[in-house]
Amino acid sequence: MADLRLENVVKQYGRVKAINGLNLEVPDGKLVTILGPSGCGKTTTLRCLSGFLVPEYGRIFVGGKDVTEIPPERRGIGMVFQNYALWPHMTVYKNLAFGLQLRKIHKAAIKSKVEQVLATVRLSGYEDRYPRELSGGQQQRVALARALVLEPEILLLDEPLSNLDAILREQMRFELAQLQKRFGITTIYVTHDQTEAMVISDTVVLMNEGRSMQQGSPADIYRNPANKFVAGFMGMTNFLEAQIVEALNGFAKVRTTDGLELVVEQSVIPDQSDVCIMIRPEHIAFLNETNDPRENEEHNICDARVTRATYLGGTVDYELTIGEHRIRTLGDTQPRYQVNQEVRVRLDSEQMRLVCN
């Protein structure tokens, strides 16, 4: 096992910098997700890690050893491809055995290794099938097994679940996370799906335009986004353009562009007056019928009008108009509020965050 480190990696195509000074550290045995929209540089990062691309600047270290210019076949990094890339002219057994054969391992040892790994991914008895005779989920597990059978120090997963249907994807997330913990392989997981990243990661690295926007635990990134992009990418969010009126220790009084005055509790207040208030739908509470002890607090309570109510089964998705802003929030199962109804809501001052663009 080994840790992985990227130091100031730059990869450019012509004059476009696909990766622009990326620093990243993956401790031994941890799972780090590189998350970001398409074109953010995550795939390029993965290809640099696997050795298919050599960065212009920067170094890549595996277990303290510089591997920046070592070709893919000599890196000992396992990889699972987005469309699985199973060799269609080989059976499952041959797909798994190929890498072992290249290592001149004894035939009997190959057989036992392949059988063992197939059992791990619950595909014992599928040795003689061709990839096309397997379902998407099974192909996915064969692709994983093909990487695991070589016992790599590092495992790279390139959107491994994106071709599966929703139910299977959810199931495989947990399975992948479990397998990774069991084998204790240092893993880089690339995805554009923030829910997936939240479920499986020890650390999330959010990338945009070739840079790392923020690195941290899923909860940390969700609750304390470093900027507006991160806040918007990690789940549904409302933004209110505002100005800081008064900054105290751990508090800030802000005024939105349409004159609404709000108080935000935040340990570090941004050092600029034009900011964006971020508030997640679940941190907006309706006040009409509840007897909230804090109802009498004067701040952060505002009048609103329901402009849209969408029944989603478990919840109701409301769109409220507060001043000039339209805000999304969630209510409980009962479709209690009607369109055009006047309501009072409180925005949770502890959960709101001031972010910069």
Binding site: S50, G51, F52, P71, P72, E73, R74, I77, G78, M79, F81, Q82, N83, A85, L86, W87, P88, H89, M90, F98, G99, L102, R103, Y130, P131, R132, R146, A147, L150
Partner: protein
């Protein structure tokens, strides 16, 4: 009742279609077979008055007589097949690397290269070959087997390169990346992954070049005759005066093509079609 009638109509239509297709496909062959065994066939009779294998015996060198104007075609057949095989071998030696390079790397002026391969087929063949004959005569290739092989390559190679490069292009690059990631060098990846996956397309292009060479007429006519007599040359000279002999040659010419196709299909089915997605 209604459905029975419908079925009857459908059956009739299917039969008509089948017979038409058979007539179009097999009609000419049937006519050739009939001609090849007709020893006496005078107008206006619909069928030959006397049939027999006399012409076949002559053509295949079983009997030798000068009475019916037919000679053994075995030397010409052997020559044709040899030329075709050599043409295939040399063409593949050129088209596999060329097609691979054109598909895999951004070859400077790659489009132009493909276009150049097309050139011999883009002009009317006659003037091209007449010019080629003048060049051949100067460098001593006129009327030689190597000269004919080169002409056959000119005709066939364009399809070879186009088919091979398309084949290589159709293989997802991820399959090659996957091989590298489990420890295969570029060379091993080519041999163990790319080549087997490309095999169906490569064989198809080989068949194409083979058949093109076997039936090539114009080029051989100009640069090969009178010293290199391939089967089509013989067919040409026979068709003018001896319908029976010409029919025999035509039927014999079908044999290698059909055999080659059957063989390739067998290979494809056993080895690769089973594994293709």
């Amino acid at each position: 009742m209604h459905s029975t009638r419908k079925r009857l109509i459908r059956l009739t239509m299917e039969l008509v279609l089948l017979v038409t297709v058979l007539l179009v496909l097999l009609g000419p062959v049937l006519s050739l077979v009939l001609w090849s065994i007709a020893e006496t066939w005078y107008w206006p009779h619909a069928l030959p008055q006397q049939i027999g294998l006399q012409y076949w015996h002559q053509a295949l060198g079983i009997h030798v007589s000068l009475a019916i104007g037919a000679v053994s075609i075995l030397p010409a057949l052997l020559l044709s097949i040899s030329i075709a095989l050599v043409t295939v071998l040399i063409s593949m030696a050129i088209t596999i690397p060329a097609g691979y390079a054109l598909s895999k790397y951004r070859v400077p002026l790659g489009g132009l290269v493909l276009f150049l391969f097309l050139m011999p087929n883009a002009f009317p063949q006659m003037p091209v070959f007449v010019n080629l004959l003048r060049i051949y005569t100067r460098i001593g290739l006129a009327g030689t087997v190597p000269g004919v092989v080169i002409v056959h390559m000119l005709v066939g190679i364009v399809f070879g390169v186009w088919i091979t490069s398309a084949t290589f292009k159709s293989i997802p690059p991820g399959l090659q990346d996957a091989a590298r990631s489990v420890g295969a060098t570029k060379l091993i990846t080519f041999w163990r992954i790319t080549l087997p996956l490309a095999a169906p397309g490569l064989l198809a292009s080989a068949v194409f070049v083979f058949i093109k060479s076997l039936e090539e007429f114009t080029g051989t006519f100009f640069v090969g005759l009178p010293f290199v007599t391939t089967l089509p040359m013989m067919l040409y000279s026979a068709s003018g005066y001896n319908m029976q002999f010409a029919s025999v040659i035509a039927l014999v010419m079908l044999v290698p093509s059909v055999l080659f196709m059957v063989l390739v299909q067998k290979l494809l089915r056993a080895e690769y079609v089973g594994g293709m997605g």
